[in-house]
């Protein structure tokens, strides 16, 4: 059967992608950001997944105000890097995994999460910057990403956005879906966005190092507490765009130490048989307007 072996959490700041695309990674400003991912690039090579389930948000790219799906799963064979106004990023086309994606869609919808199924969309920096950070610079034509990717877009642009608890519970459902897929596949689930940042108004530039680091602590040791945080706390403490951190909870909820139903004895026992190991933790301020946070958690 397929199984989720690890989760990766990372910011997806567009300027990071631009720095890589324009060969600026060696500049003093950027060096400490990329140094935080040296371990991760090696880890990706040593722990190559068969599929990445990549949770991100679309930044008014594939979804305008025409349609605003709360949760959208990509079931296409491939996804082109989007032109977000600067021209498309020079990175490889993203190959999908339609069979597993369709299976997850069916299973998760039957677990009462109403996903939108997307067969055609371009993917923006929310998806391609994490791939670049974890895989390094790749030639858009000669190279390929190391494995197929299932894009999973969450609306965090127009309120109402889903609650942290809803995201956490959705992660549990995704784990169940993956584990009911027959083929032996090593699946990584990535939660992206954040950490603290605000891109608007007189409060632009807000960073909250203390809150961010407490969040990283909670993601490792007490994700249920992170899931209980209401939206308004993200806005007040981590800036209006810090709300992106709800997406990390989808990936965290999919880890094996989280009981599917915390009122069910069998589920509790199953979850207690597992723990997560934090393989890597990184935090840096700033990348452009944003605090960069990054974690790699493995299922033990």
């Amino acid at each position: 059967m397929a199984r989720i072996t690890a989760s990766v959490y990372t910011s997806h700041v567009p300027a990071i992608g631009a720095a890589m695309d324009m060969g600026k990674t060696g500049e003093d400003y950027w060096k400490p950001v990329f140094a935080g991912y040296d371990f991760s690039k090696q880890w990706m090579k040593d722990n190559k997944p068969d599929v990445i389930f990549l949770v991100y948000n679309d930044h008014a790219t594939a979804f305008s105000l025409d349609m605003i799906p709360t949760f959208a799963i990509g079931t296409a064979a491939q996804y082109k890097p989007a032109d977000e106004g600067y021209g498309a990023r020079p990175v490889p086309v993203v190959q999908g995994h339609p069979e597993l994606a369709s299976h997850i869609a069916q299973s998760v919808i039957q677990q009462d999460f109403d996903l939108t199924i997307v067969n055609k969309m371009d993917v923006d920096h929310g998806l391609t910057v994490p791939l670049s950070l974890m895989c390094g610079e790749l030639d858009p034509v000669k190279d390929a990403w190391p494995c197929p990717v299932i894009p999973f877009a969450v609306n965090v642009v127009q309120y109402p956005v889903p609650s942290g608890q809803r995201c956490f519970n959705l992660g549990k459902a995704i784990r169940k879906a993956v584990e009911s897929y027959d083929e032996d596949l090593n699946v990584h689930i990535w939660g992206t966005g954040g950490m603290s940042h605000q891109l608007q108004g007189a409060r632009a530039g807000l960073i909250n190092r203390t809150w961010d680091n407490e969040w990283l602590d909670k993601m490792i040791a007490d994700p249920a507490a992170a899931a209980a945080v209401p939206h308004i706390d993200y806005v007040r403490e981590a800036g209006s765009e810090g709300i992106e951190l709800v997406m990390w909870l989808i990936a965290r909820g999919a880890m094996s130490d989280v009981p599917y139903n915390d009122k069910d004895a069998t589920d509790l026992i199953a979850a207690r048989a597992h723990s997560v190991r934090a393989r890597h933790r990184f935090y840096h301020v700033p990348a452009s307007n944003t605090a960069v946070g990054h974690l790699i958690l493995e299922n033990v």
């Binding site: 105000l65 603290s196 891109l199 409060r203 632009a204 530039g205 807000l206 909250n208 301020v285 307007n289």
Partner: protein
């Protein structure tokens, strides 16, 4: 029942909710059109003519021409949509975000390198942090000829 809006007392912040989205529908949809290279060229060649193709308010059009992102947000714009205008003009997200504070580009960049803006005093309206209405605009020189933002 009216929409529950627990976020109205956060200083210097407009949450893009259903009401803002209704106000800014055409402004934001115009922004989406700038994801095509040929539209960016047409817009840059004659901004007014391009804007007149959209059923936007005069205030919205003027905010776009002035690149007044605070005004555009008050009129229903969302930063991820408005970013397409900045991209068309070759501006980075940092330049766009910084422009909303009154600081110069260098001042804003220096604030970020120094660790960013503190949340202290900036969580609730009525505190005394640098994002509060009575401290606008920010930056050393912005008081000279700068417009005071209304609360």
């Amino acid at each position: 029942m009216a929409l529950d809006k627990p976020y109205l007392d956060v200083p210097g912040t407009i949450i893009f909710d259903a009401e803002q989205s209704r106000k800014g529908y055409w402004l934001n949809q115009f922004c989406m059109s700038l994801m095509k290279a040929e539209n960016r060229e047409r817009f840059k060649a004659d901004q007014r003519a391009y804007l007149n193709e959209w059923p936007m308010s005069e205030d919205q059009k003027q905010a776009v021409i002035d690149m007044d992102l605070n005004r555009a947000m008050q009129l229903g714009g969302n930063i991820y949509f408005l970013a397409k205008i900045g991209a068309t003009h070759g501006k980075s997200f940092q330049q766009m975000a910084g422009s909303m504070t009154g600081m110069t580009e260098d001042e804003y960049r220096a604030m970020m390198i120094a660790g960013g803006r503190s949340a202290e005093g900036n969580r609730y309206l009525g505190e005394d942090g640098d994002a509060q209405p009575h401290h606008q605009p920010q930056g050393k020189h912005s008081a000279v000829g700068g417009k005071k933002e209304s609360a």
